[in-house]
């Protein structure tokens, strides 16, 4: 997660290490660190502070993540602390670590393609290509084939779409670039 992890004090280092054990409530193979939602860890007079950022605006897993962080740190003997939510800068799938991407692929979820830097200066006309397949190809996480097709733009959670492999014929989830 670019920019999030600074040169830390020893206590902060050990909290970062502990957070590697906290997994995403919906996708248990990936840790919150690999998902890129932990933005800051601090220890001060009031105890520890972990700052997280939501993936989607309405991600129902957010409060579960906060609970899991609190219980993991308390189990490890860390006393009072708090979890804060921060919206800016907005989370992006580009923050998922290379290890997180590998874990997703092994689990059967195709990792997201990189986000092309989107111009935010002023409005743009959007062009739609409704009859052509998506320009980006999503390789099948099982057989690696690039011959895949989207079956549904929305899937079982806010962050995923449904795809189908035309080579091995298996359906799979695609972690949407966000």
């Amino acid at each position: 997660m670019p920019g999030a992890r600074q040169a830390a004090m020893p206590e902060e280092e050990s909290i970062w290490t502990l957070l590697e054990q906290v997994s995403d409530p919906e996708i248990p193979v990936i840790s919150l660190l690999d998902l890129g939602v932990v933005r800051q860890v601090k220890v001060d007079a009031q105890g520890w502070l972990v700052v997280i950022t939501p993936t989607y605006s309405a991600c129902p897993a957010l409060s579960q993540m906060a609970n899991d962080i609190v219980s993991t740190l308390q189990r490890a003997g860390w006393g009072p602390g708090r979890v804060q939510t921060q919206l800016a800068p907005a989370w992006s799938t580009d923050w998922i670590s290379p290890r997180g991407r590998d874990r997703l692929r092994e689990y059967g979820i195709a990792p997201p393609a990189p986000i092309h830097s989107q111009a935010s200066d002023g409005a743009r006309v959007l062009h739609f290509l409704p009859r052509k397949p998506l320009a980006e190809s999503v390789p099948c996480p099982r057989c690696g084939s690039e011959q895949t097709t989207q079956t549904s733009r929305f899937g079982s959670t806010a962050c995923k779409a449904l795809y189908r492999c035309l080579s091995c014929r298996e359906p799979f989830d695609y972690f949407k670039p966000y």
Binding site: Y56, S57, T85, V125, L126, S152
Partner: protein
Amino acid sequence: MSAVAADSVALAPTDYLLHLADNALVLGQRNAQWCGHGPILEEELALANMSLDLVGQARLLYDLVARRAADGSTEDTYAYWRDASQFRNYTLLELPHRSPLVGYAQGDMDFAITVMRNTLYTALMVPLWQQLCDCSDPDLAAIAAKSLKEAQYHLRHACDWLVKLGDGTDSSRQRMQGALEHLWPYTAEFWVSGKLEALARSAGLLVDGAALESSWNAIIDAVLEQATLTRPPAPEGYVSEGKVGVHSEHLSFLLAEMQSLARAHPGAQW
């Protein structure tokens, strides 16, 4: 959440934040009516997912208003304990998924209305969230940056359906054109610059109405052309006034369904 902004920063007026929040909540609730009734399974998932995004955006905005009010209110206070005349959403968003009938009449939901409304609204929100990403209120800018990503995805989805159905069979084309003509007059409300917009401008929010309108026109014209639909003439006559609290008869029914549980059990936790 980030700290309350410094003195030099202009905060968005409460009414404007509520307007943005109410738009998202009312359309989210309206579209959630398809849950269990979707035309196909994939679309069922899509509509529920988009509603979840919209309700999420509304929650962030209500929460921001509540924290700034610092009067013990919460996001729930705004969603569940205000009545129709206090809602600031565009009238377009509260209309049922069907052609005009009197308020209490029953009718089948028409997917053409759903697709057309989602397109008309989201084509407004993409350029608006884009503008608000750079606004002077840091908390609103943060919410806009998240909402923009979601709105862009929703717009792609809505436009895909619009083209598929518009440039589809005779029957689907006729229904899409009918939906367009039914909903078109309600978009006039987008462009009326009234108290709400004046408040937002005086607070230093960069809401450039002319730029917004030309972006919206460009998106709508491009997609209507691909869908082989005919853009109706500029609407004349009454312009709906949902954003100042004057609503159609449909909003109260929608709110009654949404609010009854919270009002039957005040303060309950679930």
